[in-house]
Amino acid sequence: MKMSVDREITLRMARAAQIRVAPEDVDHMMDSINDILSFCALVGDLDCTGTPDFTWRMKKRPSRRPDREMDWEDRESFKERAPAIEGDFFRVPRISSGV
């Protein structure tokens, strides 16, 4: 079943994703989302009878691991690669007020 979004839902999605959209760009964003939804509908219409699920990666990995601690030798390197640190902490932008 094909779904679509209108301007109101488009603006709500943008707000939820914390994306600022200029009024003149709303229609373009709405069209883009509807294009994606149309493509999803197209894929949904495909006849997949007999096609095995894409599960090979899951099957190759253990689904659970034992509760055993493992040490990482080079923890300091994480801090060195971080965009900003202060003492032992990672420094991050001031948190936003939420959605």
Partner: protein, 491 residues
């Protein structure tokens, strides 16, 4: 019970987060031992969300989540999975939390609590597994976000496994909410699922509270966070009941929001408008395999369940003939219950042992700030002491001194008896008769009343008896004192 009255029926539901007793995080092999650790030392590429890494779930966390579910009489699901809960706080580096959403590990359970009108069943909607977030620090003088130009983050706690127990809105007073959390914590401790320490954050509670409308429909729900003790849960809910009644009573309306409890000020403050599920944009976690539990595995979990608190209460009551109050105190902590049982198994009579454990052992622990797990008096030593009191070789008063010596000085029972002087100075026979004579002589007015038959209720006799016990410093046998005193007064 609750100290606030409400004009409208109160509806409370709780979400309780328990930090699971695992050695490693939920999806990576980093240690969960983060208290007091240098920030950002329990981290790895997986919990830092370095591209190319994949999470694998901790087997023990799954077992503990299932165990909590079984303890809460839930149905354990053969198939459960994880979602990504998206949000914008940087306390998790992925910008989403991995949590169970549509298919949690355990559903539809309950726990019975002592409600305001007797035993009350609180339904549990579900138990799910999720990862904890890191800790944000705001570099302002008061540590609050307001005024901070940036934030600092410690990811040591990020990824630590939690199980969240979500109740139905079945509680109707702050006291019931407090009792529910107490019982849940006791269960988690009995099951070794979590240490349940609220002060250190191993047990965190979010409360949802609303006041019903006149037509019986549910009112607007407010969520309260940041309650760090059982007492603060009760206080925060009481405050909120008063606030909501006042707002509604003056024609105002309740806003659906999240409020933070400020324990020092004793108030809740608006934090943010309440998010809904769509705000979090839940998305299936495609990097994790679903949790598949076979029937055999679930059966094995059920078989390996330890004795539950209510089962122990029933057994103690049945086997040891104890009262409800005695059983409640002795089984509150499983370690205390085990200690008591060992004292009885070492030969102490169950009733007297119960008195000594719940009164004297707890008194000493309270005074010394210790816990039963490191209590210096072995069950065998306490059993020996209780037997001597039972056999009237020692009085209860002297017994208390001896217990103190054993607990505080680490003495053996024999050494403590020797140190207390109880062995040498037992007051009996001629010495006791002499003491009683002197007490009778010094209280001629009282003895006169007794001899004249005016002491109808026996109050004066009890008074004299008490004086003798006091003078003997508890080294006389109360029964022998009664006998000798009666003879001395010619009764």
């Amino acid at each position: 019970m609750s100290s606030v009255e409400s004009e409208r029926p109160i509806v409370i539901g709780l979400e309780v987060h328990l930090q699971l007793n695992t050695s490693t995080k939920l999806f990576c092999p980093c240690s969960t031992d983060y208290i007091g650790r240098t920030p950002n030392t329990n981290i790895c590429p997986i919990c830092l969300a370095v591209p190319g890494t994949l999470p694998i779930i901790n087997d023990r966390a799954v077992a503990l989540g299932a165990r909590m579910g079984i303890g809460l009489h839930c149905a354990i699901q053969n198939y459960s999975n994880f979602h990504r809960k998206n949000y914008f706080y940087p306390d998790l580096p992925k910008a989403y939390q991995i949590t169970q959403y549509e298919l949690p590990i355990a559903v539809r359970g309950y726990i019975d609590i002592e409600g305001e009108g007797g035993l009350k069943r609180i339904r549990v909607h579900h138990v799910h597994l999720e990862e904890d977030a890191g800790k944000l620090v705001h570099p302002t003088t008061d540590g609050r976000l307001t005024g901070a130009a940036y934030s600092l983050v410690d990811y040591n706690r990020g990824g630590v496994p939690l199980s969240e127990v979500v109740s139905e809105p079945d509680m109707s007073s702050p006291a019931e909410a407090k009792e529910y959390v107490s019982r849940l914590r006791q269960l988690a401790r009995y099951l070794d699922v979590s240490d349940g320490e609220m002060e250190s954050g191993s047990l965190r509670v979010d409360a949802n509270i609303s006041l019903s409308n006149a037509d019986g429909s549910l009112g607007t729900r407010v969520e309260i966070k940041n309650m760090n003790s059982l007492k603060s849960i009760e206080r925060a809910l009481e405050y909120e009941i008063v606030r909501q009644n006042k707002t509604l009573g003056s024609g105002g309306r309740i806003v659906q929001e999240t409020r933070l409890w400020d324990d020092s000020e004793g108030v809740t403050r608006s934090m943010r408008n309440k998010e809904t599920a769509s705000d979090y944009r839940y998305y299936p976690e495609m990097d994790l395999a679903p949790i598949v539990l076979t029937d055999e595995e679930i059966e094995r979990f059920e078989k390996n369940m330890p004795e539950l608190p209510w089962e122990k209460r029933d057994r103690f009551s049945r086997e040891f003939g104890l009262s409800k109050d005695e059983v409640t105190i002795l089984t509150e902590q499983k370690e205390l219950a085990a200690y008591y049982e060992s004292v009885v198994n070492a030969g102490a009579p169950s009733g007297r042992a119960a008195n000594w454990v719940r009164m004297e052992v707890l008194r000493v622990l309270n005074e010394t700030g210790g816990s039963i797990t490191d209590f210096g008096v072995s069950p065998a030593a306490l059993a020996g002491l209780v037997r001597k009191i039972e056999n009237k070789e020692l009085s209860s008063t002297v017994g208390k001194d001896i217990l103190d010596l054993m607990a505080r000085e680490g003495c053996s029972l024999e050494d403590a008896i020797e140190c207390s002087g109880a062995a040498a100075s037992r007051l009996t026979g001629d010495s006791l008769r002499a003491l009683i004579s002197s007490v009778v002589e010094a209280n001629a007015d009282v003895t006169g009343i007794i001899k004249s038959g005016q002491d109808k209720k026996g109050g004066k006799m009890k008074f004299l008896h008490g004086l003798v016990m006091k003078e003997s410093r508890g080294q006389a046998d109360p029964k022998e004192v009664s006998e000798v005193l009666s003879k001395e007064l010619g009764l």
